[in-house]
């Protein structure tokens, strides 16, 4: 008997013009872990919601096809009939948690099932044990880290004892540490005998899966063992998935073994006697140094900065740094390390508790955010926190209007900003109906239109698929080349490695590293202490005594 069996499943949302699912055929054995991948809009979430009848009961539309869960057709079932069979965990953990403590959160499902109190207590214990949150019973969900919150969301589903657990991109909003926690919970569930369906973007996470299924355009495109699928670089890239870097490195070689881990790769290198060319590596270093002398005058200076939040929480502790015109700086560090607090000083949103911050030579004290906005533009993490206008054009014109830029210039600035982010022709569009990647671009354009010299972006790639991430970063790269100073805050270290020229590592409000990207990323151990795990290609090169930041650099330097 199969856990999940789907035949010819087709669904179109009410008011939808295209089929969200188009004849899906899918099967999963009991006890298997299957990973579902594909770019944004491929139909993964829609598919997962069909499995417990949220579609077509909650989201209405045109539905046809057949789904069998544990051998039984679910045609006549409603959502609550299936809670004992299949549990769904959603991406956005913030909106799944609603109790005042961990224990009560987990109790919610069993309470709805009318279970006796003793049984509920047992289930809470078991579920918290499984996600390793024992001892957290009385904690407030709001006080947990992202990874812990998502584990709690999983526990609250496990307490209902479903046989199948479906997780819809549970790691998207998490930092690297949180992601690892979720991956290990997923593995644990599989070893406990659960059937796990895992929707995920990150290729590295899924090595232990029994099967990978790739969706596109509402169809299953292909499926296979992780080792086969992950090596097919072209297939992955075509479907918005970031291929493992090592697979990419071996893409054009005729190496038959195709390693996926750093250790395997080192063995292959040894066997084949492949080395990194000293001469070419020196050339890379020289290029780094040239870039360093190219920068213009100081645009932001931070002296002895301290920032204390109400309640006497020191978020920034004695920071000294400066940023010069034309730099591309990445600020990294765990959640709560003070990254966002630091950059909010650059446009005057926060004023120093101690020390000073100078922007273009002037102290930010006594300056309004609106004044500094002409020099420093700040794109917030979530574009939905700022979009409010009826059309893209109005949205983008809002900033320049506020900053008192003359009316006749505004339309020109708006036009150019939209061109810059490649949204020309979208002027009259409704910004709310654009997809996430496009909304992110609107947000960037709305800042660009005020023509600030410095651009700060908080987590510009979060929640985007690989294709969208790359295109946002290429946009920033081109702005940097045109002279803008770029500052990004990010958790995504491959983004840092491939695009930033300088990296600042924060830990508990202090700078622990501040140097050229290559130099920072050579200090693997120091980074690991701050829970920062480097991309595999860098770890590989570090093992060989050099620091190479991207697959392209590696290919360039590799002496075969």
């Amino acid at each position: 008997m199969k856990a999940i069996e789907v035949n010819a499943l087709t669904f179109t949302y009410k008011d939808g013009t295209t089929k969200a699912l188009d004849g899906i055929k899918f099967a999963q054995e009991q006890g298997e872990m299957v990973v579902l991948m594909g770019h944004t809009g491929a139909g993964k979430s829609t598919f997962s919601r069909c499995l417990n009848r949220l579609i077509p009961h909650f989201h209405k539309g045109n539905y046809s096809g057949e789904i069998r869960i544990l051998g039984n057709s679910i045609r006549d079932k409603r959502v609550h009939d299936l809670v004992g069979e299949i549990g769904l965990v959603f991406q956005d953990f913030e909106s799944q948690l609603f109790s005042t403590n961990v224990e009560l959160e987990v109790a919610f499902g069993p309470e709805n099932l009318c279970l006796p109190r003793g049984e509920i207590r047992e289930r809470i214990n078991e579920a918290l044990q499984l996600v390793r949150l024992k001892g957290f019973e009385r904690r407030e969900p709001a006080s947990l880290s992202g990874g812990e919150k998502q584990r709690l969301a999983i526990a609250s589903i496990l307490a209902i004892k479903p046989k199948i657990v479906v997780m819809d991109e549970p790691t998207t909003d998490l930092d690297p540490q949180g992601k690892l926690e979720i991956f290990s919970v997923a593995r644990l569930l599989k070893s406990e005998g659960y059937t796990v369906l895992f929707i995920e973007h990150e290729a590295e996470a899924v090595l232990e899966a029994d099967k990978i299924v790739i969706m596109d355009g509402g169809r299953v495109v292909t499926e296979g063992k992780p080792h086969e699928i992950l090596r097919d670089v072209e297939l992955l890239e075509n479907h918005g998935i970031r291929p493992p870097q090592i697979a990419k490195l071996f893409q054009e070689t005729n190496e038959p073994s195709l390693p996926l881990t750093v250790e395997e790769t080192l063995k292959v290198f040894q066997k084949r006697e492949w080395k990194i060319s000293d001469e070419k590596y020196t050339a890379l270093l020289k290029k780094d140094d040239e870039l360093n002398t190219d920068y213009g005058k100081k645009i932001i200076e931070v002296k002895d900065l301290e920032y204390i939040y109400p309640g006497n929480i020191k978020a920034i502790d004695n920071i000294n740094m400066e940023i010069r015109e034309g730099e591309f700086l990445a600020i990294i560090g765990q959640n709560g390390s003070g990254k966002t607090t630091l950059v909010k000083h650059f446009n005057g949103l926060l004023k120093p508790s101690k020390g000073e911050v100078r922007v273009a030579g002037e102290d930010t004290k006594g300056k309004r955010v609106a004044e500094l906005g002409k020099i420093v533009g700040y794109v917030f993490q979530n574009p939905d926190h700022q979009i409010f206008a009826d059309t893209v054009e109005e949205e983008v014109a809002f900033g320049p209007n506020n900053l008192g830029i003359p009316r006749e210039k505004i339309s020109l600035f708006v036009e150019e900003a939209l061109k810059e982010v490649r949204l020309e022709g979208y002027e009259k569009c409704d910004p709310f109906s654009l997809i996430k990647g496009e909304r992110q671009r609107v947000a960037i354009a709305s800042i660009l239109a005020a023509r600030p010299h410095v651009l700060i972006l908080d987590e510009p790639t979060t929640g985007l698929d690989y294709r969208e991430q790359k295109s946002i970063m290429e946009l920033l790269e081109s702005l940097n080349r045109k002279g803008h100073t770029i500052i990004i805050i990010t958790h995504s270290l491959w983004v840092v490695a491939e695009y930033a020229n300088r990296v600042l590592v924060l830990h508990k409000g202090k700078i622990i590293l501040d140097d050229q990207t290559r130099k920072v990323f050579s200090q693997e151990e120091k980074l690991a202490n701050s829970f920062l795990r480097l991309p595999e290609i860098i770890r590989l090169s570090n093992r060989m005594g050099r620091t190479l930041l991207s697959v392209d650099e590696f290919k360039y330097c590799l002496k075969r």
Partner: protein, 261 residues
């Protein structure tokens, strides 16, 4: 009125109620203790929310506004007056969608002078009912005199809802509609309000709301200041009508009218 009760079986309406309540409370709280203190009254823009939410989410906005106001009180100003705050805000979120269905067949995206006029009428009605009910209640309890609070509430609510409402609705309404979250889309057809006497309800509630403001101010200015209440002194013989009793018919009209809507 039955949709106020049947809506609880729709999970979306339950969640919408909570969402409206918490957003209302979240933007209300920074100003919370101030309205009781005349002269210190800052404009409270948050009070546009019950009106626009009512036009989009119907009964969920009535409960949501009442809950939201209660939560605001939970930040420290909980008292017996909270009961009237609950009722006043409930009606403030209840009247708009009900009345709009009576006076207009069109969507409440406020474009054009005819729609705007209807909207302004509705806002004034809801604001004054809210003001009268709360003002009467706190006067009855001896917390604050009627005219000190009722007028402030009515004017503030009327101002912010007439200025902000049309702009917000034009942008929000079509999007909420597209996401299928309008109350008319969530509730089933047979749950939607349809009453024969709703015209009468509208008339009663208009007399109650608009009349209440006038009457209440007359009583408090005319009667209080004529020294009438002096007769209420311990040794005096007759008690005064005062706001508490004098306004009872008005409150009665408002409640009956709401039930008929």
């Amino acid at each position: 009125m039955k949709e106020l009760f049947t809506m609880w079986k729709h999970t979306r309406m339950v969640v919408l109620t909570a969402v409206i309540a918490s957003v209302y409370a979240a933007v209300l709280i920074p100003f919370k203790p101030i309205p009781i203190i005349p002269g210190f009254t800052e404009i409270r823009p948050a009070n546009v929310l019950p009106i626009i939410c009512s036009l989009m989410f119907g009964p969920a906005a009535a409960w949501g506004s009442a809950f939201g106001n209660l939560i605001g009180d939970f930040f420290g100003t909980l008292g017996l007056g909270s009961i009237f705050g609950f009722l006043g805000n409930f009606l403030y979120g209840f009247i708009p969608y009900k009345v709009w269905r009576i006076i207009s067949k069109e969507e409440p995206t406020i474009k054009g002078s005819k729609k705007l006029l209807k909207y302004i009428f509705l806002v004034f009605l809801a604001s004054s009912v809210c003001g009268v009910v709360i003002g009467w209640g706190v006067d009855l309890l001896g917390l604050v005199p009627f005219s000190a609070l009722a007028n402030i509430i009515t004017i503030n609510n009327f101002l912010v809802a007439s200025i902000l409402g049309p702009f917000l609705l034009i942008i929000l309404y079509p999007r909420i509609k597209r996401w299928g979250l309008l109350y008319s889309d969530i509730l089933e057809e047979r749950e939607l309000p349809r009453k024969n006497l709703r015209g009468l309800g509208l008339i009663l509630i208009s007399i109650g709301g608009l009349g209440g403001i006038v009457l209440g101010n007359l009583i408090s200015l005319g009667i209080y200041h004529s020294g009438f209440l002096g007769a209420g002194f311990i040794t005096g013989t007759t008690g005064s009508l005062g706001i508490a009793l004098g306004m009872v018919p008005v409150i009665f009209l408002i409640l009956i009218g709401s039930m008929l809507l």
